[in-house]
Every structure is written in C-alpha cells, then in structure tokens.
C-alpha cells in the first residue's frame, strides 16, 4: 500500500508540473497572445482616455479668449500649492475697474493630478489634458503660465 501511495504521489507531482508546462507551452507557440505595447513606436496610434489626468491646461478659443475670472478658487482648492493666481485690474470701457488674471502660474512639478482644482473652478476655465510626456531637462520648464499672452476673458463669463 505504501508503495502504491508513493508512486501515485510521484505521478501526481509530475502531472502537476506537466499541466504548468502545457500552459507555458501554449503561450510559447501562440504569439497572438502577446500584449506588448511598443511605445514609443506606437505614438501615433496611442490614444489615452479622454479623462486622463495629465496636466492642467486652460483652453483658449480662436479669439484667444479664456474663461478664467481670477477668483482663486483653484488656488484655494489645491492641496500642495501648485497653482498661483496673479490678478490685475482691467479698466472696462465704462471706466470701471474689473478684476482679471494677469497670469495663472501652474507648477507641474508639484502637481499630483488630484483634479480638485478642476472641480472647484466655477467657470470651467481649466481642464485636465491627457498628455503624459512631461519630462524635461530643466526643472524650471515645468513651471507653466496657463493663460496665453494677451489673452482676454470670454464675453459673458462672470
């Protein structure tokens, strides 16, 4: 009886090994299963999800206008001081002073892509862009000014 049990054990062991080898053998011969993404060769076809949180950008329309009122809601919402809003006062045609942004400084190197500023923004002026190739040789290149030069606030955005 002992011998039968022993032989059974040995055969069971060998069988379990062969089962594993059959699986790896299957993958060895079936190259269709290969899942390697050949980045950066596939850069042209690579499409990230629309919601991918890569960096904060401020969309401008064709008239070089943005929607930012300079309310600093994003600056307050940010947990790590990534955003600094520098405001100035514009003179409206009626002669009133109106608050507007001078520049919206964004420190990509501090950003954790938590999306809190986007949620906080009351006028949807900033959005997350699905970019991810952020590496630069000089860290100062990561400090960005989101509003384009000479851009204005869009009509009707308060």
């Amino acid at each position: 009886m002992f011998l039968i049990k022993y032989i059974k054990e040995v055969f069971g062991a060998i069988r379990s090994l062969l089962v594993g080898m059959r699986l790896t053998g299957y993958y060895f011969t079936h190259h269709k299963e290969i899942i390697t993404e050949q980045y950066p060769d596939n850069r042209d076809t690579l499409k990230l999800a629309d919601r991918f949180k890569g960096e904060v950008v401020m969309p401008h329309d064709e008239k070089n206008e943005h929607r930012c009122t300079g309310c600093t809601a994003c600056e307050l919402a940010c947990p790590n001081g990534t955003i600094k809003v520098v405001t100035k006062f514009d003179i409206t045609p009626e002669g009133k002073k109106k608050k507007a942004i001078d520049k919206l400084v964004y420190h990509l190197e501090l950003c954790t892509m938590c999306n809190l500023c986007i949620v906080a923004c009351p006028s949807d002026a900033i959005v997350m862009a699905p970019t991810f190739e952020h590496s630069v040789f000089d860290r100062s290149a990561l400090t960005k000014i989101l509003n384009k030069p000479d851009s204005k606030i869009m009509e009707g955005v308060e």
């Binding site: 379990s16 089962v19 594993g20 059959r22 999800a49 919601r51 892509m113 938590c114 999306n115 809190l116």
Partner: protein, 371 residues
C-alpha cells in the same frame, strides 16, 4: 545602523534584507539573525518611505486630505479614499446617493482584484516563478484601463469625494467591466494550472509561516492574512458600509493557518469580488453621483472612526475634530503595519527561503506600513 550588523557573539549570522532587496518590493528593511539557513529572529526597521501623512493631513482641508491617502496603500487607493470619505460623511452626516454607493462598491472590488492580481504575480516571482507576473499584469492592465477611463488615473485615482464621486461613470464603463469579467473568469483557471496546483509551489507554501488564530488576533492581523488563520475579520460582512449589506458574497475563511491558506484566501476572494461586481454592474441606479455639500466642510467637534476592508485588511480612519476646517488629529490604522508585526513570530525557525514566501503571502505594501 549598518556598522553594528555582523556576526553576533554566539556565531549567528546577521544579514540585512532590504532596504533594497528584490523580495521586499519596496524599502522594507528587515534585519535577520540566521543560524545557517534557519531564521532565529526578524527585526523590521521602518521609515524609509515615511512621509508622515498623518501630520500632513492636519494642515489639509477635509476635501484635500483624501488624495494623500491614495499614496498610503497605493494598490487599494480607492478603498483608502473610501474610508476617508466615509469618515467625513459620518461626521458631516451627509447622505450619499445610492448610485454613488453602488459605483463605489464596484470600484472597490475592481481595485481589490487588481491588487490581488499584482500580489499573485509578485508573490510567484518571490517564490522563483517569473512567468505569472506577466500573466497577472495582463488582467490588471484591463482594470487599469477601466479606471483610467472613468477616474482619469491608473493608480492614484482620487475619485471619491465627501458626499459621493468626483465625476459620473464613463458611458463605456459597464460594457468594459462585463468584458473584463468574461475574460477574467477564463484566466483565473490558468492561475491554478500555472501556480496553485504546482507541486513545487505547494511544497513551498504548505506548513510554512504558521500563524495561529490566537496569534492572528493578538497581533491585530486583518484581511486575508487573518482569514487564512480562520479568523473572521471581513469588515464588509461584520460592519457593512456602502451597499455591501445588500449584496451576496461569502467571507472566505481558510483554516490552514499557513502560507498556502493565505494564498487560497486571496485567490478565492478574487472570485467573490467578481461575484459582487456581477450583481451590481446591471443594477447601478440612476440619480445623482454626488450629494449636495457645502463649499467648505467643517466637521463638528468630536471623534470619528470608520473602517473599511482594503485588499490588505482593515483600514481604520480616526479623525479627531475641533470643529475647524482641518482635522485636529488623524490616525490611519493601516493593515500592513499590524500584519508585519506578526512576521517575526511566523518566521522563527523556518528557512530563509520561507521568509520570502511569508512576506509574499502577507502582501506587504511598504508605503502602507510607513505611511
């Protein structure tokens, strides 16, 4: 620290495992006292990735502090966020919409599967089989893609906010999850063929790293580590949160107390997670994904404790509020810290190779231990 390590007076060998070692998956530093191959003592030295998240949170508002907790146990980021969101909701008495609760549960379970996938691959690699790592990452990648589509990130999503979710589901979410379920069910059998049934693997795992039920309680072990010792500790069953009380699933208990039992708990848990997702994926109720909350959250004066079941065990969030916009003191009871404390008693008397198997089945995530 390194100078004092050498040979002890009675001829035992002391070696450093970590902070940079292939088996510690991070910066865990263990000082082993060895007699030949036999382990006499394991002493953890922590702090290599300590960011003092608890102190950081004291200066962040209740909306802001949630994102930091994704960085604790980065493999169960959703669950960490869930615990924090629940704690704030408890303090503010916010009623979370049903839709948000269901989505949270689905996301939690997907994260749990992803975490166990990674554990499975990494543990098999510790044992010396390299192929499972790649095979498990194939399925994990699918979950990451689903997460990326809805939450906008793959690992540190920050998708939960106090009162619900940050954004609604992506339109393709349900379709993709269903596809994933079909694919995953086929793959999980392959896991058994490749690793679970393998005689070498079973011999490496069975009878190794014995953690008795009494020890598991005393060391505060939770999650699959405790359930492998037959200790019922699933927060989802014991203190149901979100919609866990309404779905059917089994709390996996194994009584083997060894590494193989802990292994089997996680493998079976993945199947239970699939079961939960299957029940909910077609039942996501319509409605708001977020409750109306005030712009500035202020927790009333008092103490609030919530716990959730992460992939590693019980995560407790203990907020002490003084009525301000920031927590006065916040404590994260992390599952990894307690599970690690049991390692010494498990490892004594076993071989060096077993230590790797034990660390593998404890599923240690170092930022979770160090916080």
């Amino acid at each position: 620290m390194f100078e004092e390590i050498g040979t002890t007076s009675n001829g035992d060998l002391q070696i450093n495992v970590g902070p940079q070692h292939p088996a510690t998956h991070g910066v865990l530093h263990l000082v082993l006292t060895l007699n030949g191959e036999t382990i006499k003592k394991v002493e953890p030295h922590l702090g290599y990735i300590h960011r003092s998240i608890e102190k950081m949170c004291e200066s962040l508002s209740y909306r802001q502090f949630i994102y930091v907790t994704s960085r604790m146990d980065y493999l169960s980021a959703h669950m960490n966020n869930h615990a924090c969101a629940l704690c704030v909701e408890k303090g503010m008495q916010i009623e979370v919409p049903e839709r948000a609760q269901v989505i949270r549960v689905i996301m939690d379970e997907l994260t749990r599967i992803a975490s166990h996938e990674l554990w499975w691959g990494a543990m098999a690699m510790d044992i010396g089989a390299f192929t499972p790592f790649f095979h498990s990452f194939r399925e994990r990648e699918k979950i990451n893609e689903i997460m990326e589509e809805t939450c906008g990130a793959r690992l540190t999503m920050n998708y939960y906010v106090p009162g619900g979710l940050m954004a609604d589901l992506h339109p393709d979410f349900q379709k993709k999850v269903k596809e994933f379920i079909i694919q995953f069910k086929q793959r999980i059998d392959e896991y058994d063929q490749l690793v679970t049934g393998n005689i070498i693997f079973q011999n490496r795992m069975k009878g190794v790293g014995i953690l008795s039920k009494e020890d598991a309680v005393s060391y505060g072990c939770t999650g699959p580590t405790a359930r492998g010792s037959g200790l019922s500790s699933d927060i989802r069953k014991l203190y149901p949160y979100a919609v866990y009380g309404k779905v059917e699933f089994e709390e996996i208990l194994e009584t083997g107390c060894d590494s193989f039992a802990r292994y089997m708990v996680r493998i079976r848990e993945m199947k239970q997670s699939i079961r939960i997702i299957e029940q909910l994926i077609d039942q996501i109720p319509e409605g708001d994904f977020q409750a109306k909350t005030k712009a500035v959250l202020k927790l009333p004066k008092g103490e609030f404790y919530t716990r959730v079941e992460t992939a590693r065990g019980e995560l407790g969030v203990y907020i002490v509020s003084e009525g301000a916009t920031t927590p006065y003191r916040i404590k994260f009871r992390s599952p990894g810290f307690s599970n690690l404390s049991a390692l010494d008693s498990m490892a004594r008397g076993s071989k060096l190779g077993d230590l790797v198997a034990m660390m593998g089945t404890l599923d240690l995530v170092i930022p979770d231990i160090d916080r």
